[in-house]
């Protein structure tokens, strides 16, 4: 059985790399990109099952990237992870097809649960 593939897209380099390492320690195959353009390259190379996506990045906004991701493969599930204080941005993301949104700083157990739910949905639709 294939391992779950996760891609973390966040311009906070240390945050993304640390989260990758924590997921890898839990047996999940995880990669990270710190720019929207780099994320698109990684996605083209190997389609991830679930993407954890920051909304605010210098080159591409999270919502723009979400739309590009969905045009590559609409079954990739995207969880928005945002530092926004209001739910408005997350809801806007869900309206564009994101699986769900969570706010930073996030509890890892809650994030893992959300990833698992998103992965199950991906398996049922792809």
């Amino acid at each position: 059985m294939n391992k779950m593939q996760i891609l973390i897209v966040d311009d906070e380099v240390e945050f993304a790399s640390t989260l990758v390492e924590r997921l890898v320690l839990r047996g999940i195959e995880a990669r990270s990109a710190n720019r929207g353009a780099d994320a698109l390259v990684l996605i083209e190379k190997k389609i991830p099952d679930v993407i954890i996506l920051d909304l605010k990045m210098p080159d591409l906004s999270g919502l723009e990237l979400l739309s590009r991701i969905k045009s590559i493969d609409p079954t990739i599930e995207v969880i928005i992870l945002t530092g926004h204080g209001s739910a408005a941005a997350g809801i806007a993301g869900m309206e564009q097809g994101a699986f769900d949104y969570m706010m930073k700083p996030v509890d890892l157990t809650a994030l893992l649960e959300k990833i698992e739910q998103a992965y199950r949905k991906r398996l049922s639709t792809s």
Binding site: T18, L19, K56, P58
Partner: protein, 230 residues
């Protein structure tokens, strides 16, 4: 004077809201990194890595990350504290470089997200100004946001300060490619709230442009503005 103040009051609150929303977003980013670094340390210690030196290297790197992020959050808290105090004592002596620097801590993020660089060159030894620093910050932030709206990614904004006779000034100079559909220079002249705030603090703007492109914005602030600010 009260009529003038009511003109820009809502806009001033809007500007503060925008700045603080960006600030708290940044704060949460630092806290998220601290939380994950701490979590990874806990993971590593809990699982136990057979090679002690590998574990030690990883833990040292994580403690450095936490230390760096805590320092950044502390610096942001100092700026926030200073920024907040500008409102509890509206009329006071202040150093122009200090209030611009304080505000740039918050505005830097907006430039970064648009891939626009900042270059700062303050004149040393400027005299203290007596006036309303929060209104100067309001004016500065709005001019800064205006320039951000005109510049394409890869551009740069130079911020400098200086003194001429009984005025100190800050200067903003955009460099790089401008958006084709950028706001016109007249936007600043016709900005009633901004103009009202300038009037209250007794300041005036000098803008230089060529070919419809803004080259510099200079805001002159009287060193002693006690009578006008009251």
């Amino acid at each position: 004077m009260q009529n003038l103040v009511s003109t820009f009051h809502d806009r001033q609150l809007q500007t503060i809201g925008k700045i603080l929303a960006g600030y708290s977003h940044e704060l949460k980013n630092h806290l998220a990194t601290i939380k994950e670094s701490n979590g990874l340390m806990s993971d590593l210690l809990g699982r136990g890595i057979p090679h002690a030196s590998v574990l030690q290297t990883k833990l040292l790197k994580l403690t450095e990350t936490i230390d760096k992020r805590v320092s950044m959050v502390a610096a942001m808290a100092i700026s926030l504290n200073g920024f907040a105090h500008r409102y509890d004592t509206p009329l006071c002596p202040f150093q122009l470089n200090d209030i611009i620097n304080e505000e740039l801590c918050f505005l830097d993020r907006f430039a970064h997200l648009q891939s626009i660089g900042l270059s700062i060159s303050f004149s040393e030894g400027l005299p203290m100004v007596y006036g309303n620093p929060s209104l100067i910050q309001f004016v500065f932030a709005n001019l800064f946001f205006y320039l951000l709206a005109t510049l394409q990614p890869g551009g740069e904004i130079t911020v400098s300060s200086g003194q001429e006779e009984s005025f100190v000034h800050f200067l903003l100079r955009p460099e790089g490619k401008m958006h084709e559909n950028r706001p016109e220079i007249a936007t600043v002249d016709h900005d009633q709230e901004l103009q009202a705030a300038l009037k209250v603090v007794g300041s005036r703007l000098a803008m230089q442009s060529s070919d419809g492109t803004i080259r510099t914005i200079i805001c002159n602030i009287p060193i002693s503005n006690e009578s006008k600010s009251k």
